[in-house]
């Protein structure tokens, strides 16, 4: 029996952890596209938590000391920046639209998407530190970094790191680069808003490290791309993106 048919009826078995790993993965892919299923799974989990709560016992006191002591040896994860867990369609949606921008770049794009470090907390902290070191546009970047709805996403290209910091309420995106591949003379990095496959110029970064607030507002952009262009920039991307970061 395969999991393909009537996927949504697996909500119960999935919530009960009664599927094997492959079935679970298949169902999780379905969950990303089925909000009603995700809601049902969540309700089942809440239901199961009631069953679990009914099992509460008195905990041996020494377990607390042991557990708390162990936290010092465990590194905490940074949060996810992408909404992939609850809205995973978004990333694949933007990935689907990219081929119009650079069909041949699909491998590079996949690599870049795969390399997105989903480390919001850490990235935000690093971004803050980096922003503090930068002079130009510092005030605007700082305002962005401290906006109540600031979010970040980080991608790597070679040894370089690019971080976007954005606030939907301000409609602005900041880009912070550290150690991107060195540019040949007569070249510049250029940023783009990805408007569902149409690339909108968003500013130049003439060095391999530095930061800027992107020109223009987010509007309905689904991502930010970085390309290498002739000095002075281009109206349309002339090469494959070296970084693609989702604004989700």
């Amino acid at each position: 029996m395969t999991i393909a048919a009537d996927l949504h009826t697996f909500t119960g078995a999935y919530a009960l952890h009664a599927l094997d790993a492959a079935q679970s993965e298949a169902f999780e892919r379905h969950l990303l596209q089925c909000e009603a299923c995700a809601v049902e799974v969540e309700e089942f989990r809440t239901t199961m938590a009631r069953l679990g709560s009914a099992e509460a016992v008195v905990v041996p006191p020494e377990m607390k000391a042991r557990t708390l002591a162990a936290t010092s040896t465990i590194r905490q994860l940074a949060p996810l920046t992408s909404d992939s867990d609850r809205d995973g369609g978004s990333r694949s949606k933007s990935a689907r639209r990219w081929p119009r921008f650079a069909l041949a770049a699909s491998i590079a794009a996949t690599a870049a998407l795969g390399g997105i470090a989903i480390e919001q907390h850490q990235a935000a902290r690093q971004a803050t530190i980096r922003a503090d070191q930068l002079h130009s546009e510092q005030a605007r970047l700082s305002a962005l970094l401290t906006a109540p709805d600031t979010r970040t996403a980080t991608g790597r290209t070679g040894a370089g790191v690019g971080t976007i910091v954005w606030s939907q309420s301000r409609g602005e995106v900041g880009f912070l680069a550290q150690g991107l591949p060195a540019l040949a003379s007569g070249k510049t990095y250029q940023l783009w808003f990805n408007d569902a496959g149409t690339m909108r110029p968003a500013g130049l970064l003439p060095s391999s490290s530095g930061s800027l607030v992107l020109t223009g507002q987010i509007h309905s952009a689904v991502g930010v791309g970085l390309t290498v262009e002739p000095a002075g920039g281009s109206q349309h991307p002339s090469g494959q993106p070296v970084l693609l970061l989702p604004l989700r």
């Binding site: 009826t9 094997d20 239901t47 099992e55 905990v59 609850r86 907390h121």
Partner: protein, 204 residues
């Protein structure tokens, strides 16, 4: 593929019991502090959830020493992944106990526990053993509600849900044990949880 589960399924239902309100500290706030590495907050969160975590794990695993070990792993996973908690995807308690259940089930399925399990299957009936649960005033009402709601399930729904939930069996194993087709077990698990959900007054 299309998802044919309609929103209507989720809203048209009768609520029989109200969920008891958590009266302790704001768990969501604690989790966000834990995500920032605050040990004090973790201590408070521990106090709020550890009894339920250990109780659930012990219910699934039975073995006290192994249960403590797994419960500790669960609590440390909470510490490690606090930043990934998504409030819009459910209460803190539900998040923590989902981790606890998954870890307990993983342990049941690990090779280490496989032989124990076979022995258990051979030697025990699978009726829930409520009497093994330590009595606690706070838990009594909850247990009463759960017991009452489990009784509203059909026999097959009840067996499908409880074998998976309390014993950590996969739906394939449940189907084998009950000698019922896989597809039937799958839908009974869902139907059973829907009935429990409605009886316990769980809603979004």
């Amino acid at each position: 593929m299309r998802c044919r589960l309609l929103r209507g399924d989720l809203v048209n239902r009768v609520v029989h019991l109200d969920a008891p309100q958590w009266r302790g500290p704001d768990l969501q706030e604690l989790v966000s502090k834990v995500a920032l590495g605050e040990q004090d907050a973790f201590g408070q969160l521990y106090d709020a959830v550890a009894g339920r975590v250990l109780g659930l794990v012990r219910r699934v695993l039975r073995d006290p020493a192994q249960s403590e070990e797994v419960a500790q792993e669960v609590l440390l996973e909470v510490w490690r992944t606090a930043s990934r908690y998504q409030p819009e995807r459910g209460e803190v308690m539900s998040w923590v106990l989902t981790i606890a259940h998954r870890r307990a089930v993983d342990r049941v399925r690990s090779a280490q526990a496989a032989s124990d399990r076979e022995q258990r299957v051979a030697s025990q009936a699978y009726a829930p053993a409520f009497d093994e649960v330590a009595e606690q005033v706070e838990g009594r009402l909850e247990r009463e509600q759960v017991r009452r709601c489990l009784k509203t399930l059909t026999e097959l729904q009840n067996e499908s849900v409880t074998l998976a939930y309390y014993r950590g069996f996969s739906y394939r194993e449940v189907a084998d044990m009950l000698n019922v087709p896989l597809g039937t077990i799958k839908t009974r698990m869902r139907d059973g949880l829907i009935r429990l959900r409605d009886c316990l007054g769980v809603g979004s």
